[in-house]
Amino acid sequence: MARINDMGGMEGLGPVPLGDQGDARPFQADWEARVFALSRVLIGELGLFTSDEFRDAIERMPPREYLGASYYERWLVGLETVLREKGILPDA
């Protein structure tokens, strides 16, 4: 079953959005940094779930939702999904 994340070779996606090449900020918004930190603690430090389970959760996003979400939005959905599915946060 083809998953939306598996996009190597997909056509029609247009030019690469180069943005501000001089922008060296690690994160574009504070919430992105917080999602990053949360994932690092939950996965890397606490080992509550694996990075594979986290990626799997992201990949199961409906295609339209996946494409409409920014990178760290996908991470947020991934975290919510895995925490909910594993019963760690049942209403995440």
């Binding site: 190597g8 389970e53 990626r55």
Partner: protein, 99 residues
């Protein structure tokens, strides 16, 4: 989670021709669609790691397999292009292409 020891001595070595399995899994995998069924050459053997397909599904003892950096010619992937693409692929994603 304890993991079984890696299978000693992987199947493939640098220089071997391999073909990516022509499969269509319905689970998480790290085999890109564009490489399915394509033949390439092993460029490097990487340390054995647990199979993400198993880990994502919570398999208690995920298979631990060598990973191979496999180089493909653009022409073989897309029918066009002069570049090469290398992909890192777990052993069970690959079959021998023969000599």
């Amino acid at each position: 989670m304890p993991e079984p020891a890696a299978r000693p001595g992987g199947r493939f070595a640098p220089g071997d021709r391999v073909r990516v399995a022509a499969v269509d899994p319905d689970h998480h995998t790290r085999m890109p669609r564009y490489a399915r069924g394509r033949a390439g050459t092993v460029e490097r053997v990487l340390p054995a790691c647990p199979l993400p397909d198993d880990r994502a599904r919570g398999v208690p003892q995920p298979r631990v397999e060598p990973v191979y950096t496999v180089r493909f010619a653009a022409g073989d992937l897309w029918g066009a292009g002069t570049h090469t693409v290398t992909v890192d692929l777990w052993e069970s994603y690959l079959e021998s292409e023969g000599s």
